[in-house]
């Protein structure tokens, strides 16, 4: 602390008092806030409240759990894993070699409908062990370029798939677009083609705001390294819905992406033939590929987790409430008994 400030006392020139006591003598204003006396609610953990809370939680959670579990059970889901089956027997020793070769990769699969499926039936492809969230991968895109025809050159983030060796920008650039999934599925039922609607599978907001209506693919998949699917250079990016879906990167290494919608009901025990082009290389890294047909409920797809979790938490809370109640009844304890205060007990020696 400095002893004092000469200039501060200059302000008090001519008066007999030094400035400090005068400043101090100003009485502080009284308010409940300044005196820390605001009215406050002071809850306390009494057995009644705590046991009541746990009971309430269990009473709410168990029904929700049951409802969600039912919702999940109502969803009909067909999962067909095909990445090994779609490789001809002889080539199974060298799957990578097969997938990179020019042989025909067409493959026939038959699906049996276990239960009546109401339309719309969503067709997904599921990839396992595919790190769409890998750092090098997830950053390798240029949102400006996708949105805007004027930003063709903004490819800095897209390395190493930014430009052609000649320096011309790739549109859409980056690893994500380059590795676009290129297996295709054609469905037939009773030898009749089952139409798969591929319009409206992407988010509307993406089509309208993220992917430009005036941006056309350029130099895409022209490089030496062959990636995934090619794009129709005559369609704008906002119409390339497969790309738009693919570009919504997944947070988990196992993910499903929407392939299309079947807009007719499928009956129980019907057989569906799928002709698929098994083009996409998941063999280098041991990834799985699955074709998924699924209906949907108010909670989304088939997912028992939420229901089970709700039932578990509700059950646990009920159990805890019971235990607390038992302890409370068997060994009641007076709250706030001063005799438990240690300084009261210690002084017993006196």
């Amino acid at each position: 602390m400095n002893a004092s400030n000469p200039s501060s006392s200059a302000a008090g020139a001519g008066s007999a008092d030094s400035t400090a006591p005068r400043r101090n003598s100003k009485r502080p204003k009284y308010s409940r806030f300044t005196q820390q006396e605001l009215p406050a609610c002071k809850p306390i953990l009494t057995p009644k409240w705590v046991i009541g809370t746990f009971l309430l939680v269990s009473v709410i959670f168990i029904p929700i759990g049951v409802v969600s579990l039912f919702a999940s059970q109502d969803v009909v889901e067909i999962v067909d894993r095909y990445e090994t089956d779609c490789i001809p027997e002889p080539s199974r020793n060298d799957k990578v070699g097969f997938i990179q070769s020019n042989q025909s990769k067409t493959c026939q699969r038959t699906l049996r409908i276990p239960k009546h499926m109401k339309q719309p039936i969503y067709v997904y492809y599921q990839l396992d062990n595919f790190y769409q969230n890998h750092r090098r991968y997830v950053k390798s895109r240029s949102d400006q370029q996708l949105r805007n025809n004027g930003s063709l050159q903004e490819t800095d983030a897209c390395k190493p798939e930014d430009t052609t060796p000649g320096g011309a920008p790739i549109v859409p650039c980056g690893l994500i677009a380059w590795s676009l999934f290129n297996d295709t599925y054609d469905f037939t039922r009773n030898n009749q083609i089952l139409n798969v609607n591929k319009r409206g599978i992407s988010w509307k907001s993406d089509r309208e705001h993220k992917f430009g209506k005036d941006v056309f693919p350029r130099n895409f998949q022209n490089g030496t390294l062959k990636g995934g699917a090619t794009l129709n250079p005559n369609l704008t990016l906002s119409e390339q819905e497969d790309l738009i879906v693919w570009m919504r990167t997944a947070a988990l290494p196992t993910f499903r992406k929407l392939y299309g919608k079947i807009e007719v009901d499928l009956q129980r025990d019907e057989l569906i033939n799928v002709t698929l082009e098994n083009n996409y290389n998941t063999y280098s890294f041991g990834g799985k590929k699955k074709l998924v047909l699924s209906t949907t409920s108010w909670l989304g797809g088939k997912n028992d987790f939420v229901g089970i979790a709700y039932l578990t938490v509700g059950g646990l809370c009920f159990f805890l409430a019971l235990v607390f109640l038992l302890i409370y009844l068997i060994k009641p304890r007076q709250l706030g008994d001063p005799s438990y205060l240690s300084w009261n007990r210690n002084s017993s020696g006196h």
Partner: protein, 1096 residues
């Protein structure tokens, strides 16, 4: 080093010495930015954040936009820089005002008006009444014919009385006009900060006086910032200017104090940092291994075959950046805000306003409120701190007769009044000494009443008492005193004043009675310095007994003595005195030696006893604070018996038989050593029985020896004993004792009111100053200033305790929320190929730290775990703060565990309920963030003890704010989060997930808390329960010893509550419970007994 000042010589001084420009500024416009940044970056935390921010600029490794760190960093820096800049600008404005003030000086023999900053050394400065002195001046002339003037030095030392200053004898009688032309040389010390000394010489050049060297003292100076009062004009020569004045040298920036809580937070931060490095190394290795084993097979990632040389470092550095949020950037800002609010609460507290003077409490240091709650030792001054410092003359003993014993007040004692009016010679002499032997200045107001301005409260008491006894000091005109006794005027000329020093412990005046021309020396002082100076043959026993008796009543005693002087004896002495006064080296000792020559063969006239009443509420305050486990040491300059008496009457020590007072004394090393050993032994024995209240008493002399030669045993004693009384100690010893306790790692609080306490106040962890009658010096040096001692209990128990609790929560919570989000990032890295991807986007990360989680917790500064009343009733609850139970590695581990658990809950639930077709990166991220926000709202709610409307608003309003902000961001088409939040909020599964996260996260926490709260309650919990349920504690009120013992019988002692306490050193010295009131006057111990004090 010396300095030569040539009076009125414009050419010489200019180049050598600085001009009178005052500068309190820390910065200039040019150096502000670099200097301020340099200061801020000298802190470890800031360096760390800067490093992180710089690393983020490297786009290869940054997980998110650099703005997530730069934004908050720049914000924090901008806030503290602009605060500094604003303060500095205000200082500059004040400096400018002072520098540009117009001052009359003499240049080339003509008076001129210049700005204060242009004054040079050697200039003659003219001042008028009520002017502020612009620089340190040596007085040359005044309007007063005797050469006196009066100054008010409040700005310098806080003393509000008027002080007399006189011109040097060399300048006496110089005509006003000639003063313009005066020439001479002053030999003075180099600029220093000692405001009580100015050992200099002056020689005037012809034609004034030739070659005679005149001594100068501080009495001849006018120091910067003082005011000239009651004097028409004065002039002086500038000797020190600008920042080299006494005031300028005193100014210094105190080292910022670090609280124990801050130190603990720093320690924990260090531990977190180490943990973070470990995590980074582990993840870095894992990441590189994954990359080599797996990553290269991921064709879609296109790892290049050959990476750059730093390739191995890239992944660890990415994780370093990801984990950097583990150390919360917001903690410093939150804590600073909270601390300034704590300080404001102290300033605002109406219960800590002195009702008599209206002086309010003030927290000058905003940063150390938490330490108040952790105080273990209070070192207190006595006079003015425990007592009112309002001296009242109560009793006296004149020539063996006691006055005032029956009525308790000598002024109403009929015998004394009678003796005074009849003119008993002894009594008249006694009264004369009372009226004359002092430095009091009588001031006659317009209405004719006389008031006294005195530096010493004792002197004022004596003069007022003598006036009541009809010996009225009416006027002081230079050296001439007008005394009116029984309406007959007398005049005395004061020839010399032999001043009071703390070593001499007496003061004397040499006076000449103007009518008879007789010379006297009148003296007053402490008994041990006056009684040995009597002429051989005088019986001093009755006086010694009187002193003893008065001291036992807790009265301050002064012995009054006198002697007639012969003219030639005086003349011989006075020349020696002048010579001693003009020495430059060791003047004080030389003067004391010379004084001793005259102060001998006294006739003792009597003993005056002055009462200094205890301040209101002192015993209660000390009792409560002692119950709270705080140890009290009293450090006083008073004598032992008075000190012990005061100590007993204000509950410092319990009276016999519970209390024991052990005395350490001795004149030689051996004696002190033996005495110290005995006391230590006794203390150990009684301490092991822990039934008694042991205090030791030591005087300044023995203390000096003990500190020098027997530091170790003395330290042990200091630790063992709860109470100590140190008498006759000097300011530096006070500071040494504080130092000693601080070295033992105790939190010390020093409280005092006078200039002699300043060093102790500055030395201690917390300095508290009482804005009392001894001026504001202590209050200015202190961290906290209060009006009365009794406010200390509120300061510590209420403000200190709340501050500690709140900071403990706030800081640990800050770490909790940072850990929470950081763990989620770490978990996510395991499912993203250990590549260092950030799950959260820049906006979420930045806002999470700055808004979402900081706002609700900031309102925990309004939280009160217990009501003020409960704390006052159970001060023992302060133990929890002292031993740091609410913030220590184990509580921190609890928060760490909670954050880990919550991170697992949020992460697992999020990735499972948002699996497969729903696992869109942006959606998963927002679900996880919302989960964190929901959880943290409930955590804050669960940890809040009292909800005011603000807390409800902050906690639940924050949730609303979170959604509002995200909706806004989600409606911007260019943002990465476009439409995400709207989508989520439309889905029932989002809300179901949130409820699930909250229930799963909070139920175990609530269950644990409930179990602990009910079946293993902490003491805070117990008091909360009883306070809120209106349980049995409130009805029992303050626990009386009686009811307590009956309660205790049937409760088995349980060790559960003890172990934590024993961590605290103070716990072994548990308060012995409420002490009984002192009911009888205790005898003092016989001077040489080292054992138990005996009753008579």
């Amino acid at each position: 080093m010396k300095r030569y000042v040539y009076i009125n010589d414009d050419n010489l001084a200019k180049d050598i010495y600085c001009d009178n420009r005052i500068s309190n500024r820390k910065y200039t416009i040019l150096n502000f930015l670099p200097k301020n940044l340099w200061e801020q970056f000298s802190r470890f935390m800031n360096q760390y954040f800067l490093l992180i921010a710089c690393l983020q600029l490297w786009s290869l490794i940054t997980p998110v936009n650099p703005a997530s760190t730069w934004g908050p960093l720049i914000l924090i820096f901008a806030v503290s820089s602009s605060k500094e800049a604003w303060d500095d600008y205000n200082r500059y404005l004040l400096d400018k005002k002072a520098n540009e003030k117009e001052i009359w000086i003499v240049r080339q023999g003509i008076r001129k008006l210049i700005q204060a900053q242009d004054i040079c050394i050697g200039n003659i400065v003219w001042l008028r009444e009520n002017d502020e002195v612009p620089c340190d001046l040596l007085l040359l002339g005044t309007a007063d014919p005797q050469g006196f003037c009066y100054v008010e030095t409040a700005a310098l030392d806080g003393e509000t009385d008027l002080k007399t200053r006189s011109i040097p004898s060399a300048c006496m009688g110089i005509d006003v006009d000639l003063l313009h032309k005066i020439k001479g040389v002053i030999e003075c010390p180099s600029p220093n900060k000692d405001i009580r000394r100015f050992d200099a010489n002056m020689r005037l050049f012809p034609p004034f006086l030739d070659n005679d060297i005149f001594p100068l003292t501080i009495k001849n100076t006018l120091l910067q910032s003082c005011y000239l009062r009651n004097t028409e004009w004065a002039c002086g020569v500038a000797v020190y200017t600008g920042n080299q004045t006494k005031l300028g040298m005193c100014r210094g920036i105190a080292e910022p104090k670090l609280t124990a809580v801050d130190a603990m937070i720093d320690k924990l931060t260090g531990a977190v940092f180490v943990f973070q490095i470990v995590v980074v190394i582990v993840l870095g290795i894992a990441g590189n291994v994954f990359k080599d084993k797996q990553g290269r097979k991921l064709w879609y990632v296109q790892y290049p075959k050959e990476g750059p040389w730093y390739e191995l470092l890239v992944i660890p550095l990415r994780f370093e950046l990801l984990c950097s949020i583990m150390i919360p950037i917001s903690i410093k800002v939150s804590l600073d805000l909270a601390k300034s609010l704590y300080a404001k609460f102290i300033d605002w507290d109406v219960e800590m306003v002195d009702p008599e003077t209206g002086i309010r409490s003030n927290a000058a240091n905003q940063a150390i409120s938490e330490d108040l709650g952790q105080v273990e030792y209070i070192l207190t001054d006595k006079t003015g701190t425990l007592t009112e410092n309002k001296m009242i003359f109560k009793r006296c003993c004149i020539s063996g007769r006691f006055y005032g014993n029956e009525s308790g007040d000598a002024l109403t004692d009929a015998q004394l009044l009678n003796a005074a009016s009849t003119g008993s010679a002894d009594v008249i002499l006694f009264l004369k000494v009372m009226a004359i032997c002092n430095t009091v200045i009588p001031v006659r107001s317009k209405s004719g009443t006389i008031s006294y301005k005195a530096l010493s409260q004792d002197e004022e008491a004596l003069v007022c008492a003598s006036a009541r006894l009809r010996m009225v000091l009416e006027n002081k005109n230079g050296n001439i005193l007008d005394i009116n006794f029984n309406a007959s005027p007398m005049q005395y000329e004061v020839l010399d004043t032999l001043e009071f020093t703390s070593d001499r412990k007496r003061m004397s005046v040499v006076v000449r009675e103007c009518q008879s021309g007789e010379l006297f020396i009148l003296s007053k002082g402490a008994d041990e310095t006056i009684l040995p100076l009597t002429y051989s043959g005088q019986q001093v026993r009755t006086f010694a007994e009187a002193v003893e008796q008065y001291a036992q009543m807790g009265l301050r005693t002064l012995c009054l003595a006198w002697r007639k002087l012969e003219e030639d004896e005086y003349q011989e002495w006075t020349s020696m005195f002048k010579e001693a006064n003009s020495t430059l080296v060791d003047r004080e000792r030389r003067v004391a030696e010379v004084c001793q020559r005259l102060e001998r063969d006294f006739e003792i006239l009597g003993v005056a006893a002055i009462e200094d009443r205890l301040q209101e509420g002192v015993p209660e305050t000390i009792e409560i604070l002692r119950k709270a486990g705080i140890n009290f040491w009293m450090l006083t300059g008073d004598k032992m018996s008075t000190a012990i008496q005061i100590a007993l009457s204000c509950n410092f020590v319990s009276p016999e038989p519970k209390g024991q007072i052990l005395i350490i004394d001795g004149k030689t090393e051996d004696e002190v050593c033996r005495s110290l050993d005995r006391v230590l032994l006794t203390t150990r024995i009684t301490e092991s029985e822990s039934k008694q209240d042991v205090a030791f008493v030591v005087d300044g002399w023995a203390l000096e020896i003990a500190l020098k030669h027997y530091r170790k045993p003395f330290t042990e004693l200091a630790i063992l004993s709860r109470t100590a009384i140190c008498c006759r100690v000097t300011p530096s010893q006070k500071a040494q004792l504080v130092e000693l306790l601080k070295l033992c790692d105790y939190r010390t609080l020093a409280i005092g009111d006078g200039g002699n306490d300043v060093r102790m106040i500055q030395q201690a962890d917390i300095g508290v100053g009482i804005s009392g009658r001894e001026g504001l010096q202590a209050a200015r040096a202190a961290d906290y200033s209060i009006g009365k001692f009794r406010f200390l209990k509120r300061l510590i128990l209420v403000h200190g305790r709340y501050s500690y609790n709140r900071t403990a929560f706030l800081s640990q919570y800050s770490f909790y929320k940072s850990f929470l989000i950081c763990f989620i990032q770490i978990f996510f890295s395991f499912i993203s190929g250990v590549s260092g991807t950030s799950l959260f986007n820049t906006v979420s990360l930045m806002a999470y730290n700055v808004f979402y989680t900081s706002v609700p917790v900031l309102f925990s500064v309004l939280d009160k775990d217990l009501s003020e009343r409960t704390v006052m009733q159970h001060p023992q609850i302060l133990f929890d703060c002292q031993s740091g139970r609410l913030l220590n590695p184990s509580t921190f581990a609890g928060w760490f565990g909670r954050s880990l658990f919550h991170a697992i809950v949020v992460f697992v639930i999020t990735i499972h309920s948002y699996a497969f077709e729903k696992s869109v990166m942006e959606e998963v991220a927002m679900v996880a963030v919302s989960g964190c926000i929901w959880l943290q709202a409930f955590v804050v709610a669960l940890e809040t003890n009292s909800f005011t409307i603000f807390q409800h608003l902050a906690i639940w309003g924050n949730l609303v704010g979170f959604y509002a902000i995200n909706w806004i961001v989600s409606s911007i088409p260019t943002s990465g989060m476009y439409t995400i939040m709207f989508r989520l909020c439309e889905q029932p599964s989002y809300w179901i997930t949130m409820i699930l996260i909250v229930a799963t996260g909070m139920c175990p926490v609530l269950a644990l808390k409930y179990l602990r709260y009910t079946y293993r309650p902490s003491r805070i919990n117990l008091l909360q329960q009883s306070e809120r349920l209106g349980g049995p504690i409130l009805s029992s009120g303050i626990i009386e010893p009686k009811s307590r013992s009956s309660l205790d019988k049937d409760i088995p002692t349980d060790s559960v509550y003890e172990p934590l306490l024993s961590e605290s050193p103070s716990a072994t010295r548990r308060s012995a419970g409420p002490t009984q009131r002192l009911d009888s006057v205790q005898s003092q111990s016989p001077p040489h007994s080292t054992h138990t004090r005996k009753d008579n």
